[in-house]
Symmetry: C2
Subunit: 748 residues, 2 copies
């Protein structure tokens, strides 16, 4: 049994030589007697252990990924630490000068700490010491940051969040160089800055520290790790169980509530990867200091699931951009580099190495070394992307984020179905929103966040006003808008109280299907959406089936937008282009930001209304929507009422039905053909769908598809689990012995 | 001395065993006595020689690029030739069904021919024979294609151009399988289809065959190669010197006129790579049959220069998209794969292997084998991209296409300056247009062609109406528009008669500069543009200096558009956004296709007007334009009056000055900073240019630049070649001993 180090050194105390104060250079440089107690505390003792350090010292002597990363890091750091120290008085908001300087300082200190441990070169330890001396002078002079705006204020930074991140890095740097410091140097630093920051983040910021939210996790991680290093078990306890140690707040509560049982984070993948960092960092520190807590076993290994889920929630290297998400973020984000390394260190799963390889960088930690060595040996195996319903909420029953994948590869066809809860303040009003990815690209798109991260000219680099007025609104998503009003009237607090119900989830070989419903997004209107990803057998073709039903006793206008990426090719119906002047589509709920570029009036000329576009990935996509006498089609482009040109000019088709009570949108998105201007050929630029319909026979739902070559298909499903069902087409009876199945009928 | 094969086999005739009719399998399978004469003709004897075939037969036994390509090709072909033969009656235009089938047939025959030679497996020869038997039945029944539209009609295809391409491939396939065919089979094929097609392309299409144009080159290549294979020296002579053999038409005349002395093709790189194919193919056949013609030596190696120039006219793998160009086309185009292979076969230049490696494919020819072997051995060296003025016109003195490069790498900063002649019917009205490329991306953009190649729904895959009404018009380019009218009133025939004069070209280490002028683009308005690419020493910064002067005695409106790729970030002046409704900027000359999205009235608040945008490449770009009391700024986006949504919605800033006689636009485009949302940092998002001005002191032109850090620069140049000049700033005299030089002055 592995003992807690807190306990271990009490036991082993006398067997270890006391090294005393720095500078030292023996192999035991990392160990010293804590100054505050008679316990021995080992340094480093957070993410890296002394054993890790010894292994890294060997690894840099051998060529390979780890050595390369080390040499690169050292070259960059050596250049950086030659610059004059720069610890300016805090002044600027995110992206501003002092903000970036303080961020840079903690990164440099962190790197210098690790390099000190690996190289034992005192210049790195002295650098950390010198910088921290400056902070020890500065910090006591500070009060609240002049640019404070959020509910989580800081002193060094405009947000306490950044302050916590600063301490998470800085305490690791301090931990690494501590053996090099004299007692008085340690006292200067600890009393001058480390303790004050930790106290600011905990006792003086209880609203954040006790909050079950990622800001709280950064704070508890920072304070808890500081507790380990400064040997303040009380701080560790508060970090784990809240300021009152009752467990109503703190890291363990965050672990209980912020992730669902299968590791889905309430705010979605963009914030999941950010939240992940303090979770895995603090957990690793807990594991190294108090293995008896079995933190990685906690809640059926929820942390490992969270790491894996973060990777699962990506397509072709980028995270699904639901909610407030910067769309460029992907699996190579440093947080997930740490996460994957830690997970690999624990599980040894070789699929994780595939992700690590795509990340293209390794980190200078003990786990990073294991990853680097395994990659050097080519031990990676394909990471298995899965069709999965990620239950939302602490118990996993507050809706779900559903990912339907045609296969396990990273460029497969993928439907995401956002039947999740609101996702707090960064959540979008997009209940049961749909996205589609194919052939490496996003096809039915999510706007993500309206933000230019850290670009001062763009609203200080913060979320833009258009994030509220457009990006979060329902019409900016591929889901139903009733009466030009967003879900929950666009009020986050209301949204937080409700979530859709996942009615059905089926993972058949040829059909992946999910169905969900919600009756709280709009008063008096029930919404049910069923979506399926269908792989046509023996053909390299994928269909997305989409059935969106609204039930109401009163009349409404129903709008179903399909935001798409690509160039419009053709429609099979007449439309009136607004060729000479453009106006905004509406006045509120995001509609004021959409230019109406064309529209088609209701017409019964076609059984299906068909719109084709061409994505930059070289494939054609056709939306086939069952026509009805009431169905209008609007063509839009974002950018209206946007005087600062903050929005991307994304395009959409909106299916609209006015004055309806119960209504159903039935559509099929077909991926087809290839446009290859480089090799000068074009294949199957025409959609092959001739006819589409939906009906119910008893408990069986049936989607009927006919193609131009007269081939016929039925996608049939039901939700009477365990019961066998049947349906009839053209006098033939077909048995349905599973939840969902694709039937290829005889040609007409 | 290497003898012509025409002559060689007369000499060697009796020494070679007569093999007679197929099937045969000896090492001499490739040689047989011509049926028409007593000369011996060797087969294959076009691009591949029998020696090439012997080498390829050995090469497929060894693992490497060539074997891989062979196995891939064989696997695809084996699958394809199992399908039923399909030689439909011609019906469809480009992109349509029968068009694509006939294209596919010649590709399959070509591949089968090569595979027959390499494997000696008769199934490949039989496939070619069977297909040609079908064509021999079909072709005599044809008259002009039902979809004929161009001045170059076809029978199998809507354009004679495609028919020539068909024969270029088919004659090579026939040449390859000829040894396998009986005399009667040969007669069926030759009389049924090969001779009729060759006659159709020559005697029956004199207007194309004799034309000095790439359509003519395809025709002469097809007919000339058919002459070699069918042993009709008369056809070869006509191909080389025109139907009347006078030399006023034909391949040699095309070689004289279509390329400039340094290998620039009048229509620009997109058509250059297309035109290249018949040039290098026929030339290679000439070289193999009649080496005494020294075709690759002709005109100071103009063909090799043309191949090299095609590669030079690219950025990050894609061709500069001037004139009618599909922007996805790049150096991996099959025509340049052939071109590079042939050039490498002749010169052995290892820089060409760098291009070949980027092309990512090798071809199954003798030269392709040499490339594959060299790449297998890693013999490639960096291809040297050059700063160069490519003189236009047969004598190289009809203007020039100027490429200024910061260094020789493929992602360097590059300015292109289109001071060329019109470029015939595919030419755009963009005299002295500018483009800028940086960090792998196109920054100041050229629309290219408005066309979706072979996408039937988009105007049959042909050039769209908007190609004429927008893409070719002056306002769609980064050059000056006078009075909202295109150069030469938008009349190609007028444009063809004029060209700018290249006044100055200088390639200094820090400054690459070109200047050109034209006084025929507009009546009574002289235009002079000087542009320079400046590398600021010891800083990783590039500037584009641009001075555009108009001289006129009467008042005009001058518009200078800068089409850009990226997201608008900020301007340093007030502008009125058209946030609630949009209208077209004008009514003609392309202006009807521009939405006016914002505008700024003249104002003297700033010494420079500054506009910053962010490209997807992660870098910021700031256009700094010297302000004047009359300078307006318009923001536009393409897409107005485009009811079928044929245009991309590209964006531009237009600098406008109304009611001016002589006027000068002086600007500096600065590339700066980095936006990295993945790693969450943003650097230098603000432009650093504080002040900009231009003046003349005697013969010296001076551009003065001051930055926010008070650093000062002067770019000085003159065109008094050989003379030393000087200029004065702040009382200091500076000597200018070269054409252009960057001076870094003392800080202010």
């Amino acid at each position: 049994m592995k003992l807690s180090k807190f306990n271990r050194y009490v036991v082993l105390g006398l067997a270890i030589s006391y090294v005393g104060i720095a500078p030292v250079s023996s192999a035991y440089a990392g160990q010293l007697l804590s100054k505050n107690t008679q316990q021995l505390v080992e340094h480093p003792n957070l993410v890296n252990t002394f054993e890790d350090v010894m292994a890294m010292r060997e690894a840099i002597k051998v060529s390979g990924r780890f050595q390369t990363e080390f040499l690169n890091k050292q070259a960059r750091l050596d250049k950086a630490i030659e610059q004059p120290l720069n610890v300016p008085y805090p002044k600027d908001a995110g992206g501003g000068y002092t903000h970036e300087v303080h961020k840079n300082n903690y990164r440099l200190m962190y790197d210098a700490g690790i390099l000190y441990q690996i190289t034992q070169d005192p210049k790195y330890a002295n650098y950390v010491k010198d910088v921290l001396f400056e902070y020890a002078k500065l910090y006591p002079t500070l009060s609240l940051h002049p640019e404070v705006k959020s509910s989580n204020p800081g002193q060094l930074f405009w947000q306490g969040l950044n302050e916590a991140v600063w301490l998470v890095h800085t305490i690791q740097a301090y931990d690494a160089v501590l053996p090099h410091l004299s007692e008085s140097e340690r006292e200067t630093i600890e009393k001058g800055v480390l303790e004050p920051v930790a106290l600011f983040l905990s006792e003086e910021s209880p609203q954040t520290f006790n909050k079950v939210h990622n800001h709280g996790t950064w704070a508890t991680c920072a304070v808890g790790m500081t507790g380990y290093v400064l040997d303040k078990p009380e701080w560790v306890e508060k970090a784990l169980y809240g300021l009152d140690k009752s467990g109503t707040g703190g890291f363990m509560r965050q672990l209980d509530e912020l992730f669902s049982p299968n590791g889905y984070y309430n705010e979605g993948p963009y914030y999941q990867r950010y939240a992940l960092m303090p979770f895995v960092t603090f957990a690793k520190a807990i594991e190294n200091n108090q293995p008896e807590r079995k933190i990685f076993e906690y809640r059926d290994q929820v942390l490992l699931k969270a790491i894996n889920t973060t990777a699962q929630l990506s397509y072709n290297g980028l995270f699904f951009p639901i909610n407030d998400a910067i769309k460029d973020k992907g699996i190579d984000t440093i947080e997930l580099v740490h996460g994957i390394a830690i997970a690999y260190g624990i599980t040894g799963e070789t699929g994780l190495l595939d992700i690590a390889k795509q990340q293209g960088r390794v980190i200078l930690t003990g786990d990073g070394l294991q990853v680097a060595k395994a990659l050097d040996k080519g031990q990676e195996t394909d990471y298995q992307f899965k069709t999965q319903a990620f239950g939302d909420g602490a118990s996993g029953n507050e809706g779900a984020f559903v990912v339907l994948r045609s296969d396990s590869s990273k460029k497969a066809s993928v439907v995401t179905f956002k039947a999740t809860s609101q996702g707090l303040g960064h959540g979008h009003f997009d209940k049961m929103g749909l996205s589609f990815y194919d052939n490496g690209a996003e096809i039915l798109t999510d706007y993500g966040a309206a933000r230019f991260l850290n670009v001062v000219a763009k609203f200080g680099g913060r979320y833009l006003p258009e994030n509220d007025s457009y990006a979060q609104q329902t019409v900016a998503h591929n889901t139903l808008v009733v009466d030009e009003t967003s879900h929950f009237d666009g009020i986050t607090e209301v949204g937080n109280q409700h979530h859709p119900k996942l009615e059905l989830f089926a993972n058949d070989k040829q059909v992946k299907l999910a169905s969900a419903s919600i009756d709280t997004a709009y008063q008096g209107v029930g919404l049910t959406r069923t979506t399926a990803l269908v792989a046509v057998p023996e053909e390299n073709i994928d269909w997305v089936i989409d059935i969106f039903a609204a039930q109401s006793k009163t009349q409404h206008q129903y709008d179903l937008p399909f935001h798409y990426s690509g160039h419009f090719i053709e429609a099979n119906f007449d439309y009136q282009a607004h060729a000479e002047s453009l106006n905004a589509l509406g006045t509120k709920s995001g509609y004021q930001h959409l230019w109406l570029t064309a529209q088609a009036q209701p017409s019964d000329e076609q059984q299906i209304r068909k719109i084709t576009w061409l994505n930059d990935n070289g494939r054609f996509y056709s939306l086939n929507a069952v026509n009805s006498p009431n169905l209008e089609v609007l063509f839009t482009r974002a950018g209206a009422n946007d005087p600062n040109f903050n929005l991307r000019e994304d395009k959409a088709f909106i299916l609209r039905a006015k004055g309806q009570t119960d209504y159903q949108f039935v559509s099929l998105l077909e991926a087809h053909g290839e446009y290859n201007p480089s090799k000068e050929y074009t294949l199957k630029s025409k959609s092959s769908i001739k006819s589409l319909s939906y009906e119910q026979q008893g408990a069986v739902h049936m989607v009927y598809v006919e193609r131009d070559d007269n081939s016929q298909f039925v996608i049939a499903y039901h939700n009477q689990s365990g019961q066998s069902q049947s349906f009839v087409v053209d006098g033939h009876t077909y048995a349905l012995n599973q939840t969902v199945k694709l039937f290829k009928l005889a040609k007409k």
